[in-house]
């Protein structure tokens, strides 16, 4: 299997070349185009309900909600598959060699067949803030994970501590410890500063961030649109 990222960085797509028997798991709706000898199978995974006592209403909203995956399997050699995310932005491929990668739900685009996907990971559940549908996926195993971002994507090798707004996290290696908390010294200052929740990483590991924060963009557009 060969993966190539085309049209970087604003309208990136991934082209995956597969030989007979090879397969990849993608987010439903990610497929743009593909060769004819590729078999598609849809599967559902239970999506993690959000944690946090205060957010019980939201928890109910997401509890039991499924998230769908498409398994693409080549039934002949030299089959191409082109996939892309919904929002404008970049794609990177993260090679996973044992260990785990925690991926922000909407940044997960695809992963190799030998990678276990757990969408019920609770660690950052309380990063779910102001009703935004943020959920997290834990990828474990060996193979490539394709990550998409809103805007540009950049890699940070954390050694020590590093603070990221939850809306800018794409993915991080689970060798990193973290605490979710307020950005300023007091809650009032955090809200006035508009930064809401941040994630403080510590330890050593790789972290992927995106240049733009999708919920912020959504909140900018929303009030200008017709009520639903």
């Amino acid at each position: 299997m060969q993966t190539e990222i085309l049209c970087r960085p604003a309208a990136s797509v991934a082209r995956i070349q597969m030989q007979e028997g090879e397969s990849i798991t993608c987010e439903v709706g990610a497929m743009i185009a593909m060769s004819t000898a590729i078999n598609v199978e849809t599967a559902a995974r239970k999506r993690g309900s959000s944690g946090g006592g205060v957010l019980k209403g939201i928890k109910r909203m997401f509890a039991g909600e499924s998230f769908f995956l498409n398994h693409f399997t080549a039934t002949a050699d030299q089959q191409s598959l082109i996939i892309g995310p919904s929002l404008l932005g970049d794609i990177v491929s993260h090679p996973l060699t044992g260990g785990s990668l925690i991926v922000q739900g909407s940044s997960w685009l695809a992963s190799g067949a030998d990678i276990e996907i757990d969408a019920t990971w609770q660690g950052l559940g309380n990063a779910l803030f102001s009703g935004e549908a943020m959920f997290w996926i834990k990828c474990t195993g060996t193979g490539d994970v394709l990550l998409s971002s809103f805007g540009a994507i950049y890699e940070v090798v954390v050694d020590g501590t590093y603070t990221v707004d939850t809306g800018h996290i794409v993915a991080f290696e689970d060798t990193l410890g973290f605490t979710v908390g307020k950005s300023a010294g007091t809650w009032l200052n955090s809200f006035l500063g508009g930064e809401g929740l941040v994630c403080k990483f510590e330890g050593h590991g790789k972290l992927y961030c995106q240049s733009h924060n999708p919920p912020n963009f959504g909140k900018l557009l929303g009030p200008m649109l017709k009520a639903r």
């Binding site: 085309l6 049209c7 604003a10 309208a11 990136s12 797509v13 082209r15 439903v28 709706g29 497929m31 743009i32 185009a33 593909m34 060769s35 004819t36 000898a37 590729i38 078999n39 598609v40 199978e41 849809t42 599967a43 559902a44 769908f68 498409n70 398994h71 002949a76 050699d77 030299q78 089959q79 191409s80 082109i82 892309g84 919904s86 929002l87 404008l88 549908a133 999708p214 959504g218 909140k219 557009l221 929303g222 009030p223 649109l225 017709k226 009520a227 639903r228």
Partner: protein, 249 residues
């Protein structure tokens, strides 16, 4: 089984063509494409209303129902305006065209064949090209926003645009494309709209057809297909949860 080759247009800053009838240049590909056409005295270019960004003095602009009312209705079904703007150079001049969405633009030289265009993809054409709507019947209907086509034919230059970048794919051994991502294709290809394999009735998940997702175009035969790397449909579905909710009183 031979490989379907996925030819990818070089993504330069600009795109010019030696074989164009018009002297043109496409700048800032693929993200923010803008088309510049250099007209000699008497030359014409026809464009989608609203596409013109700038023009030098000496260009006459006329809006008309080109090709008569019947043809115009066809274009309406094709999702394009009934009107076509005609820019005629009264002296050597330059007109630039920028499409609505941020994205790529492609030049295609028609030489007697036909090119099918997805609704909204048409930007401009030279003299000698004719655009007609093609009512797709059930084929177009079932695809929802998916596949409403215009047909470009004749001999001349055609320019079309997309949201996101455009990939040019040389189909050799069939190709499956999500309906929302089809921008254009040569009509030497056979095509039909169907439900994507994994989502067909009888498979585990039966009712997954929301928002047109899951419908694909199956191409067969030989020819080129242009696909866009983003679709406005998924973006609109993404933004929907941020819309205000109607008060319930």
């Amino acid at each position: 089984m031979s490989e379907t080759s996925f030819v990818h247009q070089p993504l330069g800053k600009s795109s010019t063509s030696a074989d164009g009838k018009l002297a043109f240049e496409i700048f800032e590909r693929p993200d923010f494409s803008i088309l510049s056409v250099k007209l000699r005295t008497g030359e014409k270019v026809f464009a989608e209303p609203g596409a013109m960004a700038t023009m030098t003095p000496g260009v006459d602009l006329k809006s008309s129902f080109r090709g008569g009312f019947g043809r115009s209705m066809g274009r309406l079904f094709g999702g394009e305006s009934l009107l076509v703007n005609t820019y005629t150079a009264e002296q050597d001049s330059e007109v630039t065209f920028a499409p609505g969405p941020a994205g790529d633009m492609v030049h295609y030289r028609l030489r007697g064949g036909n090119l099918m265009l997805q609704r909204g993809a048409f930007v401009a054409h030279s003299e000698g090209v004719e655009i007609t709507g093609k009512w797709q019947g059930a084929k177009g209907f079932f695809s929802g926003q998916g596949l409403v086509l215009l047909k470009a034919s004749g001999d001349g230059d055609l320019f079309f645009n997309a949201y996101g970048a455009i990939l040019e794919i040389d189909v050799v051994d069939g190709l499956v494309v999500d309906t929302g991502y089809v921008v254009a294709f040569e009509d030497t290809l056979g095509y039909k709209v169907s439900v994507m394999k994994g989502l067909r009735p009888g498979s585990k998940i039966k009712s997954f057809l929301f928002g047109g997702e899951g419908l694909v175009v199956d191409f067969e035969g030989r020819g080129k297909v242009w696909v866009q790397t983003r679709d406005v449909g998924p973006f609109l579905r993404w933004v929907t949860p941020y819309r205000p909710q109607k008060s319930r009183d």
